[in-house]
Symmetry: C2
Subunit: 415 residues, 2 copies
């Protein structure tokens, strides 16, 4: 515990420095780190190789090994990510809504960094660099706690980042990696209220649940996406088809991929065979209700559990609904509040869906795959919030800031 307190104190102290430094200075660090990543890529690859060997010895699965893997393309992509962050506008310092009160006080809000951000994440080492770049640009110190399978890769990357900080006379403790990857240490981090302003888990649902349940530090919940496509009776079948196929198959392993298709009964007889055929060509397993199974003999029966599931795979649950209301109620009951889409040409139906469905992102006639910081124009993202407090949906630099009230007076006292 005492070690984490020291880490916390160093981060807090670095955060004061970061809060007062200019955008060009922060950008210089980002560009230095990008250059150093390229220059020291062999060191990174050697350390990554050691992690990979250990992972193979311990029998980690193919997809996990792939997440862990770094190569020169992936290092180049991390470096380019930092250069992109350096081009983004600095959100810090903006003054919002400054107004004069009747008593002459000038009251406004100033955008400032959150302070110290903790990130708990799993195998992908690129998170180390992406997150450090976003925190640095938004003026926050960061405490990183990556997975034990990536510890050598992460250590190498953090060393390079800290080298870039030092080169530019920034405090190295602006970015710290916790080297103790035990569960006990993660639990301690979740109670580090005195030094951490927010904790963001990035990873699978098990990790996220553990952080939400154990953290006394404020958490921003990210990730789980049981996304729905609802094909309304007024849908354009071509749009419905391409949106469904895209949302399900373009990249099935991510949180904004569709997991459930709802189809209005009055177009089910035409649309379901059409979409079923295309899904079959894409090797998507269909788990349907009775109606769907009558139309698609190759569909298997959906269980009650399937409606709740984030398959993250080429599996789609399909259900026929009798009305818009039934579709909305299904989404409310089974959805995870991430992204949902209605396909319809009827503007009243669309407006009602937008109003009644309360997810982080609600679409009319577009693929749920667009829920992403880059696609939404934020330039980069630290995660997708599925909670309602502070940030909702893709989180960019602005979501890593808070505001403080600043008040200019001339001797006013309260009577």
């Amino acid at each position: 515990m005492s070690h984490l307190i020291e880490t916390g104190k160093q981060a807090r102290s670095a955060s004061y420095f970061l809060a007062s430094v200019s955008a060009p200075e922060k950008n210089k660090v980002l560009l230095t780190v990008a250059r150093n990543l390229r220059e020291h890529s062999q060191t990174i690859l050697d350390n990554n190789q050691a992690d990979l060997e250990k992972a193979r010895q311990e029998g980690l699965s193919g997809p996990l090994i792939d997440r862990l893997l770094l190569n020169s393309d992936r290092i180049e992509s991390m470096a380019r990510g930092l250069e992109e962050i350096s081009n983004l506008e600095d959100p810090v310092g903006e003054v919002l809504g400054m107004k004069k009160r009747p008593n002459g006080l000038m009251i406004g809000k100033k955008r400032v960094p959150l302070g110290v951000i903790g990130i708990i994440y799993e195998s992908r080492p690129n998170v180390t660099v992406d997150v450090s770049g976003l925190c640095l640009k938004s003026g926050n110190a960061v405490i990183l706690r990556g997975g034990k399978e990536a510890i050598r890769s992460n250590t190498a990357l953090v060393n390079i980042i800290r080298m870039g900080l030092k080169e530019n006379d920034f405090p190295e403790d602006a970015v710290q990696l916790i080297e103790d990857t035990s569960r006990e240490c993660a639990l301690e981090l979740m109670k580090l209220n005195a030094y951490l302003d927010v904790l963001i888990p990035r990873g699978g649902s098990g990790l996220i649940r553990s952080v939400v349940e154990n953290s006394t530090v404020p958490v921003i919940e990210t990730g789980v996406g049981n996304c729905h496509i609802y094909v309304d009776q007024y849908a354009d079948p071509d749009k419905a088809l391409s949106i469904t196929i895209n949302a399900k198959t373009q990249r099935p392993g991510v949180c904004n991929a569709a997991e459930t298709l709802l189809v209005h009964a009055s177009i089910a007889n035409e649309f379901i065979p059409l979409v079923g055929e295309q899904l079959r060509l894409k090797k998507v397993e269909i788990r349907g209700d009775l109606f769907v199974r009558k139309l698609l003999p190759y569909a298997v029966a959906a269980s009650e559990e399937d409606w709740y599931k984030e398959f993250l795979d080429l599996i789609l649950a399909v259900k026929v609904v009798g009305s818009d209301r039934e579709a909305i109620e299904h989404i409310r009951k089974y959805g995870s509040g991430h992204s949902e889409c209605i396909v319809t040409e009827n503007c009243t139906v669309a407006a009602n869906f937008l109003d009644q469905v309360n997810s982080a992102a609600v679409y009319v006639n577009a693929s749920t795959r667009f829920t992403d910081g880059y696609e939404f124009g934020l330039g980069a993202e630290i995660g997708i919030s599925t909670q309602k407090l502070h940030a909702r949906g893709p989180m960019g630099l602005k979501e890593l800031t808070t505001t403080k009230y600043i008040i200019y007076g001339n001797g006013q006292i309260r009577i």
Copy 2:
């Protein structure tokens, strides 16, 4: 537990109704409840009398009894509070930053209610009405968990509120009071993640700490205020004097009252005897450092603990600092991040203090007592957030909302 799940489900269901209802409809309910409070004031007073008798039997202290007490003035003030809320602008439905992306998607954020808000509070029964009014106007269902000492008063008030909801064909479960005032039940409420979107504790530091430590539901931390006045070397002594006296003595028991006075060494010899005299006249106990005690023989010695304390009483800790930097570092170390003020005529010094001190409200030349929803022009407040996520400083109707992304497409898919 099963009982709270039922409460949660009813609240969630009511929240769907509330989210889609218009401002005039919500205002009608507020005005009906205001009228009913006046009409049924005798019922309220009778129930409050029963609470008061029990409190006296159990030997509750004078200030606690006073907090519990209702009389016709206080009932009138609750009713007027609701009428004022009915006059505030409805924050729900506003669309922010709708922009067209290069692929033709129109992406914006729509302001929506948080959903279901839980409030855990202590003795003052007016919180029941104030909070219900704010939640209703912002389209949120609320689950109230008041103190056991006020249970009969709170039950009477909630009955009247629900009567007003029913009269206007609103679901009564928009406002629910948990009648089980046991600690176990409060702990269950703190884990009701499936139905509660946020939990706001209102009360003393013990209550707030317990909620922060035990809740898995996102919490907005409110309240504790160890506020500082820093009298810089360039201060106008008259302003410094009146601000200090006002911030300390105008209402010492509240969170935005000053608890520590810092004085720059170069004006300490003049200013401290001046302010000491006035504080003495107001019966304020001074706890000073060595420098202060040399100037004010009646000052007692400040302990290390005193610098951390929220006295909530006629006590002021006073310290002499050698520089602006020392003042800022003192506030960072000992402050609670609520409200701080610098008194200075030097604009560079003022700008530096505004930058370096990262509290919810930072003042130049005005009393910290202004940190308040009404004074800041929010119209009303549900509490003062001292955390950095979601809301910071006084929270009005807007802070009881969140946003969702709404996206209009024309068949766009991701490539």
